[in-house]
Amino acid sequence: MTMNRQMQRAATLSLAALASLTTALTPAFAQMTEVGPGEGALSIVAWAGYVERGETDKAFDWVTGFEQKTGCMVSVKTANTSDEMVALMNEGGFDLVTASGDASLRLVAGGKVQEINPALVPSWSTIDPRLQDAPWHTVDGKHYGVPYMWGPNVLMYNTNVFKEAPTSWNVVFEKMDLPDGKTNEGRVQAYDGPIHIADAAQYLMFHKPELGITSPYELNEDQYKAALDLLRVQRTLTSRYWHDAFIQIDDFKNEGVVASGSWPFQVGLLKADNQPVASTIPQEGATGWADTTMLHVDSEHPNCAYMWFEHQLSSNLQADLSVWFGAVPSVPAACTDGRGMQTAEGCTANGLDDFEKIRFWKTPVANCSQGEGACVPYYRWVSDYIGVIGGR
């Protein structure tokens, strides 16, 4: 085992030397023109549960087949937040990252990921057309990644309190009495990430059209201030903010939390535990995440990476991962063609038909459609959200 590891490391090292030589010779940012033989290894920065090799649950394995077919041994580094993913890619040493829309553009801007060539990915045409040129991985007509998986941030609620699904996000944003006659103070939660400001903006988009918000990720000073004010009200209702899915699950069980923005992942786990919960997408719509596999600019295993691009689109990955994670495949055919465990009903339950209602996570930047420097950029979202949670 050790011997094997050492040999592998020696092989990787010599390959690395070779690769750095080739990167030194070829100009950076040039996209690949052909896929050569695999380099024997591939490292991926991924969300927890995104790259499974049957070790958590035997039935969910989309890595072993890839390794056998290509000889590219996959290693995974899990990250918990988008910010962490950006940090890891900035450190370097990884080939691929499954970046959400609030990370992908930052990676492109930071020059950390390279343009990819869709012509080298045979199954590119099977991708949901709505995702093929999505703005969170396409910049100036250049593609910087291959769509991986997407899903909505749903409103999870307790079915004992809500006999009917809540129709509005107001249950988590405004002080009110819930259907059981008791106040919502201390009984709702919100996501512990700055991107949650967009959920507030989306709510205002529907209820305060006079603010003129067109995208929850492009807010000018006034719109941004209104969103923060709404979040300050939410702070008085929220007992605790969640970032760890399992702490949220515990809070729904033991802390009397009855409504919160959440992921289908927690809904599925709580339902499996026979807890009285369900989820809905209220009238205002929902934010969501659409993840893209992106290739590091200094990747040492680009051939393996391109083989993974093809694998992620054409194998059982799309279907099985969408079952495992409660997400929606980027290849719609995966819902129906029986390549994995997913079914048409499953895709619908995970939100396939709600695509139009979802505004996907995108990094807020200063230069937006409202004009140069007109919008509040992400770093202010970060520090201001810490302030809001701190009661300021």
């Binding site: 605790r240 802390e255 950029p377 949670i389 009661g391």
Partner: protein, 312 residues
């Protein structure tokens, strides 16, 4: 013809020991080099790297660290929400330390003065036992104990303390929807977790107070209160301060308890953890990390003046 009284050298071992005998400093240097290197490189080196990082800044959109000397990151510490974090942590550390001292003193006093034989062992065991189980397990256990549907609320409701608890949780400054989601809960868990570190040095200090002095005090007509005030307390003070260094510094740096118990408001440790880990803002994390170091330097200086290290 007599042979000389010096034995012939019997190889490497003899030569080495002879060299050490002739130059005693050589042995000292050899023995000290590894730990000094360890301390110098691993500990001081990483501190220096941290200090260096705190003078860098971050490109606010791409999140790439700009390696240029600037004080911008330190200026960011003085933004209202960051100042909040520092003051919140400091206040918590002070309250936890004072409360720990008040609760720990009678326990340590009893263990040092009155517990004998088997009882002494039971006391030691009782204080140490929580230290032997996993920190995380204890914190998660407290999350369940303090939960709205947890045992503490249940007991309070059954002994008529429900309204009192509800009244406490209504308080703007430390209340919440339940103990587990309020700063009050964070405080309780901090006090519980760090208590042994307060009791043990206190007990050691109290054990060193000679009984003869107490007898002399009462012979001279001092009341119990006077004896405590003028003899026991001053002699135990170094132990109390030594314990407070533990509870104070541990509370300043902790990042797990406020993450699991409390209302999500940030503490210094949690801010450092989030800025370096999830936000990739290492410079600001480093600047934040310097805050408890500076606070502790001041604290240790005061502690030294009060004689906490005299027994060392």
């Amino acid at each position: 013809m007599t042979s000389p009284a010096i034995l012939p050298e019997r190889g490497m071992g003899d030569r080495i020991s002879a060299a050490f005998w002739r130059r005693p400093r050589l042995l000292l240097i050899l023995l000290l080099t590894p730990p000094v290197l360890w301390l110098g490189i691993v500990y001081l080196g990483s501190l220096a790297a941290l200090l260096l990082q705190s003078f860098y800044s971050i490109d606010e959109f791409s999140g790439v660290v700009k390696q240029e000397f600037t004080l911008k990151t330190y200026a960011e510490l003085f933004r209202a929400q960051n100042l909040d974090i520092i003051l919140r942590t400091l206040l918590m550390a002070i309250l936890v330390t004072l409360t720990s001292a008040v609760i720990a003193f009678p326990i340590a006093y009893f263990a040092a003065r009155f517990a004998k034989g088997r009882w002494k062992a039971v006391f030691y065991l009782g204080v140490m036992l929580p230290l032997w189980s996993s920190y995380l397990v204890k914190v998660y256990a407290w999350k369940l104990i303090l939960a709205r549907e947890g045992i503490l609320t249940w007991i309070a409701d059954h002994v008529g303390g429900g309204p009192l608890l509800a009244r406490a949780l209504d308080e703007q400054w430390f209340g919440g929807s339940s103990l587990s989601t309020s700063p009050l809960g964070t405080f309780i868990v901090f006090v519980y977790i760090w208590m042994p570190y307060m009791i043990l040095p206190m007990q050691a200090a109290l054990e060193r107070v000679p009984v003869s002095m107490l007898e002399a005090s009462s012979d001279l007509g001092a009341s119990r209160a006077q004896t405590f005030r003028t003899v026991v307390f001053p002699l135990a003070l170094p132990g109390i301060i030594a314990g407070s260094i533990f509870t104070f510094s541990l509370t300043l740096g902790d990042y797990i308890i406020p993450q699991i118990i409390g209302n999500s408001a940030r503490f210094i440790g949690l801010a450092v953890y989030q800025f370096q880990g999830t936000a990739g803002n290492v410079p600001l994390a480093a600047a934040f990390a310097m805050v408890p170091i500076l606070i502790m330097l001041v604290y240790l200086w005061i502690a030294k003046r009060m004689g906490a290290f005299d027994a060392l």
